[in-house]
């Protein structure tokens, strides 16, 4: 029942039809020759943890959840010691199924990768985590995938950051994205370097919403043309519909490790000029129990000294406040902009995971 009392928003998931369709391939270069020297390592069942981590490093596997190279995460977890490894397939944002779909369609590889990650870090338990509140799907998510239990993360929209709460009894937990597990399994079994990633192409302008395995560095426009545009979009989003970045030059923007999704929307851009009426809905939905109303007012009035009082550093940037705002204020974007200016320790943000060396 833990999820019932969590704050946040209930979103229409709109994962269909992309989720139930097959995972399709779309490559622009032949990368089958790019392999690591697999023969330098012993067979799969004789690998030591250090060798698995070395293979992950050599194959350049990157976790698509946070953009951190997988070998760094595994080495860190191996040193500190974790009890549980969780394969994360919780696509809690609408339209996206780029972790869940590969998990269901390539389940053998994902289970194999999870087993390898477990051996690499010496964990006792393994689980997969999916989001529970997906109601409009045609395929049923099984209780067990290849003998591994699938846990459902309950609750409202920002669910991904609450996965560790679901595994409170078996802490500490290492979270690895389902896509990275598949790439790890490929690297260990066949010696393949990660040259592809999984993305969802969807949105109300996409004719055939589907999940694709595309080459890294593929221009976004080619991906959209592969799936077909049924109408002229005016917003193209790289990443989730709640947290992704708008892309203004799809011919030059490329698909990278942690893109996750390419969404094309047409929205009525009629300018709705409203002022904040102080309805307090942003306060009701904030999953971190912050007060976006007062934070936004402080930012508007330039009272940056008050921001640490409202604990702006706890903001996780989920965008629920902007989503719910009846006045269409860009609260989330304002907070993000001001946090990059503030000094660290006074509410300033950490650099994004992807930008880390």
């Amino acid at each position: 029942m833990a999820g019932f009392f969590t704050r946040g928003i209930i979103l229409e998931q709109r994962k269909e039809p992309a989720l139930s369709r097959d995972l399709r391939k779309f490559f622009n270069v032949n990368t089958s020759k790019i392999t690591i020297d697999r023969d330098a390592y012993p067979p799969v069942d004789q690998l030591t943890p250090q060798q698995i981590i070395a293979i992950a490093k050599e194959a350049r596997v990157v976790d698509e959840r946070d953009g951190i190279p997988l070998h760094q995460k595994l080495a860190m977890a191996h040193d500190t010691g974790v009890i549980t490894v969780v394969g994360d397939a919780s696509d809690d944002e609408p339209y996206i199924s780029s972790q869940l779909n590969p998990l269901l369609k390539k389940s053998e590889l994902a289970v194999e990768g999870l087993g390898l990650a477990q051996r690499a870090v010496g964990a006792q338990h393994v689980y997969f985590a999916v989001y529970k509140n997906i109601t409009d799907i045609f395929t049923k998510i099984p209780r067990k995938i290849g003998g591994v239990e699938v846990r459902r993360v309950r609750g409202r929209y920002p669910a991904e950051y609450r996965i560790t709460d679901e595994f409170a009894k078996v802490r500490p937990v290492l979270l690895i994205g389902a896509g990275a597990l598949i790439h790890l399994a490929r690297a260990v079994l066949k010696g393949k370097v990660q040259t592809t990633c999984f993305i969802t192409v969807a949105g109300n302008c996409v004719a055939n919403p589907t999940n694709l395995e595309v080459s890294l560095g593929m221009p976004v426009m080619q991906v959209l043309e592969r799936c077909g545009l049924s109408a002229e979009p005016n917003i193209i989003v790289l990443g989730g519909s709640m947290t992704g970045k708008a892309c203004t030059d799809p011919d030059r923007a490329a698909v990278t490790y942690n893109t996750g999704a390419v969404l094309a929307f047409y929205e009525d851009t009629k300018d709705r000029r409203y002022k904040c009426i102080g309805c307090g809905r942003c306060v009701d939905v904030c999953p971190e129990n912050l007060t976006p109303f007062y934070i936004n007012r402080c930012i508007e009035h330039g009272r940056l000294r008050d921001l640490p009082f409202y604990e702006i550093d706890r903001c996780i940037g989920c965008g629920t406040c902007s989503y719910i705002c009846p006045a269409n204020l860009d609260i989330s974007a304002n907070i993000k902009a001001v946090r990059s200016k503030l000094p660290r320790g006074k509410g300033g943000s950490r650099p994004d995971a992807a930008e880390r060396p």
């Binding site: 979103l11 981590i53 190279p69 760094q72 995460k73 080495a75 860190m76 977890a77 040193d79 609408p94 560790t164 802490r171 500490p172 937990v173 290492l174 002229e232 979009p233 005016n234 917003i235 193209i236 989003v237 519909s241 709640m242 947290t243 992704g244 970045k245 708008a246 203004t248 030059d249 799809p250 969404l263 929307f265 929205e267 709705r272 000029r273 409203y274 002022k275 904040c276 009426i277 102080g278 309805c279 307090g280 009701d284 129990n289 007060t291 007062y294 009082f309 604990e311 965008g319 902007s322 989503y323 719910i324 705002c325 009846p326 006045a327 269409n328 860009d330 989330s332 974007a333 880390r356």
Partner: protein
Amino acid sequence: MLLKDHNAPHIKARETNRTVMGDAIIALLPLYLMAYYFYGLRALALGGVSVVTCVVADLLCVLLRGEKPNPRDFSPIVTGMIIPLMLPANIDYAIVVIGGLFAILFVKQPFGGVGQNLFNPAAGAFALMAISWPEKVFLYPEPLTRLAAFGETATKLTEGPAHALKLGGVPVINALDMITGNFAGPMGATNILVLATCLIYLIFRRTVSWQTPVTFLATSALIAGLFPRVSTGALNSVVLELLSGTLMFGAVFLLTDPVTSPKRGLSKYIYGIVAAVVTMMFRRFGGYEQTVMFAVLLMNALAPVIDRLSESILRILRRVHLEPRKRRNARAPRRPQEKKAAQV
């Protein structure tokens, strides 16, 4: 392809300011229907005059400030609809016009217009009218008397049950009449059944949060039961205090005004409780029989303070509950260890 730079999130909830204010208008319409049933066409004419006054005054102020008027902003309509409902149906049009002008020109717009006002415009207007014309505002026509829309409205005027309570008497009203509003009183504030329905509608539409009105009504009932003003027992006191006068109307439409009420869940409870205490104190020791609007004005001034207070309480609670958990989470892999990985 013309792409625009758009901030996340890229999907939006369908509700806008327009639907929030539209919900309030929808909730106010049945009150006007009941007022039409009780007092005839004059009730509707009063509402129309008030709405036109408020909208025109609001438009003038917006133009004076040099902004572009927004036709989707319904807030002056809501203010204009609320003001006559707190008044007797035979009130002069001039008083309603002055009240509407005061609400917009003095209470709402000097602070910066919609969403910026410190005090509820309708409550401010009622305070002005009650202080300036008490002999007209607190004398009500009997219900089911047809009042002419224009011209002389010579009819028998009586004091409401709240006045009898104020003097220490016990108003004698049939329970059914009390619930359906069939007694002398403000034009729209006597129909308890309709008001309760409006409250439920607004709560389910999430236009108002349930915390404030429910705690306000519960605390009012508690105080009325513990310290009855009438001599006929605690239960009778609760019924009379809650159902006579504008307490229910204030709880549904004035106290829950989104602009001037506090935002945090905890402060909404505090707000409702303190507002109830203030209202009942005013009723007992104050000079007027309708006291909710004065209590609302006082509480509006306190709302930011209450929010600040509950934010401080929340900060302390977070320190107590979340700090140990945070330390445990700090063990999760965060900073990559280049050295160890390089050794492998």
